[in-house]
């Protein structure tokens, strides 16, 4: 079982093709697979569809793939922080499918769990529900949403062991576990690969069965909104 690769480019070798569908972890710039995104930019793969909660900022995260026009379509819940995104969308160069955040997460989770569709009350009566099957359960109306099946999952975790068991850190977990499960192949970047057996089996957040390739690297981990409070004088 060889899962560890030397670089992001090596880990993605043979997996990328034009027009593919990629599910990415991360929330804002927190817990995004920044090294793999850079490697996809370097590979020049085109016409990509990305399922990702956000689209990064102009020069970080998925934003770097928007600059190079490698993205054809985004499936996201919130894209407010990216000017280039807005420009490409308003000029019709970029397709956008808004999913409510919980629906996006559940679509990934369901796809990874072999569930092709599920009913939710999120979005009933809004434009999200247009064209979708409606069904009543116990007197309440729900809409049918589909599970997501991606060609590739790219995620960021804190630590992996050599078999791909993953541990995330704090709020950087976010979309990473559901995104990891919904791809045919899942490539993970971590801050540290530790020897198999050194992680507590009771504390694994995502078992290695979902993980196919792993790289370790240096992460910039950019902060989007630095908010602080003043220390009170003792």
């Amino acid at each position: 079982m060889k899962k560890i690769y030397g670089s992001a480019a090596e880990a993605l070798d043979g997996l990328l093709f034009d027009g593919m569908f990629i599910a990415s972890g991360g929330f804002g710039l927190c817990g995004i697979p920044e090294l793999l995104l850079q490697a996809i930019k370097d590979a020049g793969t085109k016409d990509l569809t990305f399922a990702s909660n956000n689209a990064g900022v102009d020069d970080f995260g998925i934003g770097i793939l928007l600059q190079t026009r490698q993205v054809k379509k985004m499936i996201s819940s919130y894209v407010g922080e990216n000017k280039e995104f807005m420009r490409q969308y308003l000029s019709g160069e970029l397709e956008l499918e808004f999913n409510p955040q919980g629906t996006l997460a559940e679509r990934m989770r369901a796809g990874g769990a072999g569930i092709p569709g599920f009913y939710t009350k999120t979005g009933v009566g809004t434009q999200i529900a247009e064209g979708k099957e409606h069904k009543d359960f116990n007197g309440e109306t729900y809409i049918l949403e589909t599970g997501m099946f991606a060609d590739l999952s790219i995620v960021k975790a804190w630590k992996a062991d050599e078999t791909g068991n993953l541990i995330f850190r704090k709020a950087a977990r976010n979309f990473n576990p559901p995104a990891a499960t919904c791809g045919k192949v899942c490539v993970v970047e971590v801050e540290e690969i530790v020897p198999t057996g050194s992680l507590d089996p009771d504390h694994i957040h995502l078992p290695g069965v979902y993980v196919h390739r792993i790289i370790q690297g240096e992460h910039e981990k950019r902060i989007e909104q630095r908010t602080v409070r003043q220390r009170e004088n003792a």
Binding site: G102, E106, M108, F168, E224, Q225, R231
Partner: protein, 207 residues
Amino acid sequence: MPWDRNQMAERAAQELEDGTYVNLGIGIPTLVSNYVGDKDITLQSENGMLGMGPFPFEGDEDPDLINAGKQTITELPRTAYFDSATSFGMIRGGKIAAAILGAMEVAENGDLANWMIPGKLVKGMGGAMDLVAGVQRVIVVMDHTNKAGETKVLKECTLPLTGTGVVDRIITNLGVLDVVEGGLKIVELADGVTEEELRAATEATIV
């Protein structure tokens, strides 16, 4: 004098029941956490955290620890982290007692619009549609009128909806209104605001 932002947040904090789990939206709702007093309230952040603490001291910011507004925050002894699917499972599943959210428009039947201005503002709904569909009680906190002086408390929303019939209570700078059968009911007036003033600033039916 109508209430200012902090007074609206203080009034909204009275809505929170001791011992509950609550989600606060961005803007005035975020200020509500300053006024919970002695009540034991656990704040949920929909990016995957229960037990959200205050902003960090300068130098203690952690890029792995942000709230749903992407701001750096801190954890508390009670904090738990989880993934986004689990986070919206507890929202959709009705485990969160209340959400306090901002709004662009609210209608007398409880319809809410707070995510999109067609052709102008295209940012996305984030978790708002899941929150209003799933939490037990939805409280809107907003100014009664927009910058042009037009009412935001309408018979029918004109903007794309976030949810239909989802709002329970509206707290504005002019007072507190409940969504009831047939329209809105005045619960409370802001200090120095008359019922006539509130009615004049409202398009929705007041019953």
